[in-house]
Amino acid sequence: MEITTLHYLVVAAALFVLGVIGVLTRRNVVIVLMSIELILNAVNLNLVAFSRMWGGLHGQVFAVFIVVDAAAEAAVGLGILIAFFRNRETINVDEIDLLKW
């Protein structure tokens, strides 16, 4: 049985949902950021699979841009985390609620 684009889409959907579960349920900020990386990877897999399906390279170029985005997001997110950890001594999402009320 040949592997079609649909197979890749199902794998990417599974990775995406795993990332969403991580973002919604974990309390450790570092693991929430890692789950966001999982989500971005799922999107990349979709883009590259569609690029293969249509025979163009636009999907691959977009995938490279998303990798750039992921790097910028990780750098800024982890910077915020370190600054916060220095002030409050916690990396727990439930306790990061200064802006909540």
Binding site: M1, E2, H7, V11, A13, A14, I31, V48, V64, T90
Partner: protein
């Protein structure tokens, strides 16, 4: 698919490797969101990233696969591991790992998965058609072609991306300074 393949290219898109790589990716993705220790999560995430990079190779995208290995598994994950060691707290490992609303989050994610699968089921005829024959864009010339597109069609987006990276560097440096 075979007839249009450039000479010297053997098909790597075999079902066995697809199922092996995607199984590894999903299993280690599951480990990422369930492990108690953040270092274990990071190591599982590296396995996921390498498996996805193998899937890119199977999709004839060697440049994206290389970027995935070098930038993600090599750069971003080292950053993550450094930060994990900087904020390592013994008590975080002992306390509750999932927040109080986790059943709601799990239900919402499962609803999202059901939505995805129903869309794929409805639009099956769009996605399971045979892929176009391989052109030289998907062979050894791939990196060159992507480079030409980056500096051609996507010139402006490329410059914006470099600006984004500059802003991210400045933000990270300023945020982690002791006193601004």
């Amino acid at each position: 698919m075979n007839s249009a393949m450039a000479p010297g290219m053997t098909p790597v898109a075999t079902p066995f490797f697809f199922y092996l790589l995607s199984g590894m990716a999903i299993l280690s993705g599951l480990l990422v969101i369930t492990r108690r220790n953040a270092v274990h999560s990071a190591l599982a995430l590296i396995v996921t990233l390498l498996s996805v990079s193998g899937l890119y190779f199977m999709l004839y995208a060697p440049f994206v696969a290389g970027v995935q290995i070098i930038v993600y598994a090599g750069g971003i994950m080292v950053l993550f591991l450094f930060v994990i060691m900087l904020v390592n707290l013994e008590r975080v490992i002992r306390e509750r790992q999932f927040n109080r609303m986790w059943p709601v989050g799990l239900a919402a994610a499962c609803a999202l998965l059901a939505l995805f699968l129903s869309v794929f089921e409805k639009g099956k005829s769009l996605f399971d058609r045979a892929s176009v024959p391989l052109s030289d864009k998907f062979g050894p010339e791939n990196t060159q072609q992507v480079g030409i597109m980056l500096y051609g069609n996507y010139m402006f987006a490329f410059e914006i991306a470099s600006l984004l990276l500059l802003v991210a560097i400045l933000g990270a440096v300023i945020m982690t300074k002791k006193r601004i």
